[in-house]
Amino acid sequence: MAERRALELDPLAVGDRFLLFNFTRRDDHVVYLWVLRAVDRLREVHQVQVDAEQVAGALDELSREYADVPELDGGLRDRLDRLHDDGVLLRFDDPSRAGSLVRYRNRQSVYQFSELGYWAYVSVEGVLAARVQDANLSRLVFSDILEDLRGLTAANRAGDGEQIYRRLTRLDSVLEDMGRRSARFHVTLGEIMQTTETSPEVFLQHKNALLTHMTEFTAELDRYLPRLSEAVQEVEATGLATLLDRAARADDRPFIDHEGRLEEWRRRWAVLRAWFTRDDDGPSRADELRSATRVAVSAVIALLRQITEFQRGGVNHASQLRHLAHWVWDAPDEDAAHALMGAAFNLRSARHLGVAHDDAEDISPRASWWDAPGVEVSVPLFRSGRQPTPGVPAPLRGNRGAQHELRKRQAAARADERRAAGDLAEDGIHGRVLDETQTRVLLKLMTKALEGRTVVAGRLTGGVGSDDALLIRLVPADVGSTVRTAHGTLHLPGLRVEVNPRTGRRKP
């Protein structure tokens, strides 16, 4: 295959061949192109060797058909010579008989395409003529391939060398074509996907056809692949070495010897085999093509979804935002700009005033805000800027000395009280002056007793107050009682106080 041989070219040869395209880089490359077109037109009518006059005539003819043909102001011969320098054209002296010395001396050169030069010209024309719309996956070739493979089996069995050669050649070209097409299709597809950013219309227009095309291709491939794989194996079963030998014999290319031809057919068969049968080192090329097509289908669908989503508004999302940016930027003030942005994005937040009345029902809804009481606000907040919150917990300080001291004092106070309570229980409260501790104990218990009283039938009953050593009972009495303390006299009208030691509990 041509591509494979190209891999073996050394850099020098590659450089020579690149020189063939030199005319595309010259200043007036369009003129060179038309000159070559004129030469090619003459070649089509089998005028292989042409001189400058004939080329000029062909150019004239072309300029009648196409408006773009440039005017040549002489210098055609120079241009032909430069094409000769690049290797696109070959230059010969005119071999026809001159007949006279004058004509012999004025004899002109003639030109013809070199083999490689012609390829260079054709490939340039190919690039120029290429259209995106041409890309396709050749769905219909599978049945041909299958038929060829079966024919190959039959021909090898029958020993028909020419038939083998024909079938193999056709298979070779079909496969090459298919590989090229699929590669081209995927390149084109990738290009469409990248460029729809700006103009998705082309894509949308053809989306259905594209998807159908790809899904049908995969379906066809799925259908044929097992059969093709089987057919390849059948061909091999009829004896591969014989087959290739016969093909090489039928091959009538004069410039390659038998060994070379055999080697080439072997390579071609390996390529063919790699298309349809799975090797140990990986999937077949048809498998790869299938998975690539599947990926492409899902990519197309995803792209389609994105395009339609973004186009829902009719005008592109990005252009809306650009328009809005322009609008906002030209707004006369910030408030208007924010109002516009907020409305366009539809973004805002609810806003409410803080602090509510606890007793909302007590205020008449008909009262004016002027007359209604204000809400209870936390004044420290306004005084100092600090909210009256408990705040973060203060760090714990292990102040052992102080704690110990406090505990000691507390214990002493408790001991004092207990002793005082003991005194009270022993000696009663009447008929003596109570000291400070005793008074405190008494008052504490009396507070408890007074709080504990209940009302029964409109009358207060007595109350009882106790601590761990002492129990006092307040008994309602007509004659009140009096307790003398160090600070003065405590009158208890309507109450008698009875003091008893607490029983049933162990004294500490």
Binding site: M193, E197, Q306, I307, E309, F310, G314, V315, Q320, L321, R322, H323, A325, H326, W327, V328, W329, D330, A331, D333, E334, D335, A336, A337, H338, A339, L340, M341, G342, A343, A344, F345, N346, L347, R348, S349, A350, H352, L353, G354, V355, A356, D358, A360, P365, A367, S368, W369, A372, G374, V375, E376, V377, S378, V379, L381, F382, S384, G385, P388
Partner: protein
């Protein structure tokens, strides 16, 4: 009107939870796993169906809830220039450059890319910026770069972008070497921009708003009720005199406000001049008041001073008629429309405002309410007094030497809360401002403390402190 009540499918035990979710939805347009806080999304998604039904029925809002985002798409009645926190980063309000950059950056995310580096983003965004006369983007100008950084941070906050490598700071320092790589969340990007109509089809910003049906149309009455509910739910206070007559009438119906209170968990406060939903927790708002920050505090003290002033002079201060929401809106609309780039409008599809939109309503039906006027010069005296009483240092270092700057800031804040209103030469005091008259105690306590060195706490103040702490 036969209509179901708000939150009718919610069990009484769950009502607080439900109302909390509604408040989140109302204060945070786009709730994501991280925004406003972790856990909020789950809390809201639990009630997504009920909230969605309630909001559609009561307010005609639509709620887009997926497992990753919750987005409230509102129906807007008025343009609102006071929403400062929506387009802002780190409490700094976006200027027009940042707003325009935000649009362009959001518009430059290509759908086929899941991630983008800052360098690439700039390459695709800069030509668009340069195409707008006067805007432009110059990578050597630091303010332009800072604007881009703020915009990207804004998008990162909302989960539209996710930083995966590099940092914005390194790019800000050196845009040649520093770079950042972002993942693009296309779903979130698409959710952020939800205009009611495509901006390119508009000849006026009014097209972005809800168009009220004609008065004779059968849905007119329900529409007025919805507008009233929206006013109540979105704005700090709804004054009857400022609203359109049909909306004011709907606002007077007691069940309307009760319904909204049940939906949001806020407390109805109804007075002669209007009705409002008070927010006891101070969380259902973008501008908390009373709040701890210095502007909010100065605003409160200023209100107290003004209340004192008005009490002293009684209601003898000459008043001015309260401007209506429609008048505000018309002014804002005219200014917004002044910037409309006509060349970008797709005229074949263009939407034009109906004439009735611009009509501010017949004055004969409107009750004229006068609001007291306080002159600018008087306000300056008041703020100077405050500085004297509390000491300049208590207003933070940023403002200690700029009392009049703080005054302007506090007045703007109070205007946003619909407690004051700027008019040429001073401000009008709106009725709801008087509900904060108790702040006066802060002033009196302060002055009494200055005179008496004894530490005797005023029992009244003490009680208030306790209440304040308890509430």
């Amino acid at each position: 009107m036969a209509r179901r009540k708000a939150a009718h499918g919610v069990a009484p035990g769950d009502l607080a939870d439900y109302q909390n979710a509604v408040r989140h939805v109302l204060t945070c347009d786009l709730i994501t796993a991280q925004r406003p806080r972790r856990g909020v999304l789950e809390q809201v998604l639990r009630w997504a169906d009920e909230i969605s039904a309630d909001l559609r029925e009561l307010l005609d809002y639509s709620l887009i809830a997926t497992t990753h985002q919750v987005r409230l798409v509102r129906r807007l009645d008025h343009l609102d220039g006071t929403q400062r926190s929506v387009f802002s980063y780190r409490r700094r309000r976006f200027d027009r450059r940042r707003l325009a950059y935000l649009c362009l950056v959001l518009g430059s995310f290509q759908r086929s890319r899941v991630e983008i580096s800052l360098g690439d983003l700039i390459r695709s965004f800069a030509p668009a910026a340069n195409a707008i006369a006067g805007l432009g983007f110059d990578p050597t100008v630091n303010t332009h770069k800072a604007a881009v950084v703020d915009v990207l941070n804004w998008l990162v906050d909302r989960g539209a972008l996710r930083l995966s490598d590099g940092s914005l700071e390194s790019w800000l320092r050196d845009s040649d070497r520093g770079d950042a790589l972002f993942d693009i969340e296309h779903d979130t990007c698409a959710l952020l921009f939800k205009p009611a109509r495509q901006p390119q089809h508009l000849t006026s910003a009014a097209g972005l708003l809800h168009e009220p049906p004609g008065p004779e149309s059968p849905s007119g009455r329900g529409d007025a009720a919805r507008r009233a509910r929206r006013l109540l739910v979105e704005r700090p206070a709804a004054y009857y005199a400022a609203a359109e007559p049909d909306v004011a009438e709907a606002l007077r119906a007691p069940e309307l406000a009760e319904d909204m209170a049940r939906l949001t968990g806020l407390v109805v406060e109804r007075r002669a001049e209007g009705v409002m939903l008070a927010d006891p927790a101070g969380a259902c708002t973008d501008r908390p008041f009373p709040g701890r920050d210095v502007v909010s505090r100065a605003a409160g003290l200023l209100l107290a001073k003004i209340a004192d002033l008005l009490e002293e002079h009684g209601q003898t201060t000459p008043g001015m008629p309260l401007p209506t929401l429609a008048e505000d809106h018309t002014g804002l609309l005219d200014r917004a429309d002044a910037g409309l780039p006509h060349e970008g409008v797709v005229t074949e599809l263009a939407w034009t405002a109906a004439e009735q939109d611009r009509d501010p309503g017949e004055p004969r039906e409107r009750e004229r309410a006068d609001a007291p006027f306080v002159a600018e010069s008087r306000l300056r005296v008041l703020i100077d007094e405050l500085y004297e009483e509390f000491g300049a240092a208590s207003f933070t270092t940023a403002w200690r030497n700029d009392p009049h700057g703080l005054l302007a800031e506090a007045l703007a804040f109070l205007a946003d809360l619909m407690l004051l209103r700027h008019v040429p030469g001073g401000v009008l005091v709106l009725p709801a401002a008087l509900r904060y008259r108790n702040i006066t105690a802060a002033l009196h306590a302060q002055s009494s403390r200055a005179q008496l060195s004894l530490d005797i706490t005023d029992p009244a103040t003490d009680a208030e402190e306790n209440d304040g702490a308890a509430s």
